[in-house]
C-alpha cells in the first residue's frame, strides 16, 4: 500500500511528459542513460535527473553495466493483466490528441 508521501512523489514523477516517455521506452526493454538521452534530446545530466526522480519511487532501477548505467522498469511495476486495455486506450487516445492538435494548428494558420 502506498503512503500519501510516496503517492505524492509518484504523481510528481509522472507529471512530466519526458519521464512518462522514459517509462514507455523502458517498457520495451532496458536502456542506458546515453540511449535514453538521444531520442528525448536531453543531455546525459538531464536524463540522470529524470531517472533519479523515477528511481526514487521505484518506477525505475539502475545498475552499472561496464562503463554505462543501465535503466529498467523498477519493482513498483505490477503485472496487472486486467488493466491491459488501459494501455491500449492510452496509446490511441494519445494518437487522437496529437492529430487533433495538428489539425488545430493547421486550421489556425489558414
Amino acid at each position: 500500500m502506498h503512503c500519501h508521501a510516496t503517492l505524492d512523489r509518484t504523481f510528481f514523477a509522472l507529471s512530466d511528459p519526458t519521464r512518462r516517455g522514459i517509462l514507455e521506452r523502458l517498457g520495451h526493454g532496458p536502456a542506458t542513460i546515453g540511449e535514453l538521452a538521444e531520442p528525448f534530446g536531453l543531455t546525459i545530466n538531464g536524463v540522470k535527473k529524470h531517472v533519479g526522480i523515477l528511481e526514487d519511487v521505484d518506477l525505475v532501477v539502475t545498475a552499472k553495466v561496464g562503463r554505462a548505467r543501465e535503466c529498467r522498469l523498477g519493482p513498483a511495476q505490477l503485472d496487472d493483466a486486467t488493466k491491459w486495455i488501459g494501455d491500449y486506450r492510452r496509446t490511441w487516445r494519445r494518437r487522437l490528441d496529437r492529430f487533433g492538435a495538428y489539425v488545430e494548428r493547421a486550421d489556425a494558420g489558414r
Binding site: E24, W84, G86, D87, R89, R90, F99, A106
Partner: protein, 148 residues
Amino acid sequence: MSEDITFARVIDAPPEAVFAAFTGQGGQEAFYSEPGWSVESECDLRVGGVWAVTFGRSRDEVFRHEHVFRVIDPPHRLLLDTTESRPDGGVLRYETELTFQARDGRTLMTMIHRGLPTAELREEHQAGVPGAFTRLERVIERPPVDPS
C-alpha cells in the same frame, strides 16, 4: 472474446478540415508520430484502397498498420478494416469506424475499434507493457468521453 472501444475528441476546426487532414499525409503522420520515432504513411484513398503506416523507434523494431477503406463518405465517415502487425510477429485485426460530426464550427471526431481480439491483446500486454505506468494510470485515468 472481443469488445468495442470508443475514443472521442472535439477538434477546433470544421469537419471538412479534419477529414481532409485525416486522409492527408501530414495528418496521418501526426496521428502516428511518437517522440523519436519514424513514421511513413502511404494512403490510397478509394474504397478497397490501403492506408499503410509503418512506424517505430528503429528499423529493427517496426510496427505496421494497414487500413483497408470500406466506406469513404467525406467529410462525415470512414470505415476501415485494420490489421496491426507488431515486431514480435503478433497480429491484431479489427474494424475501425471514424465519424466527423459538426459541433458549432468544431468537430466531434469519434473512433470506434470493433471486434478487438481481447485475448491476444492481453498477451501483448503481458509481454511488455510498462506495468508501473498502467498501475498508476488506474489512479489518475479519467473515463473516456462518451460520444453519445
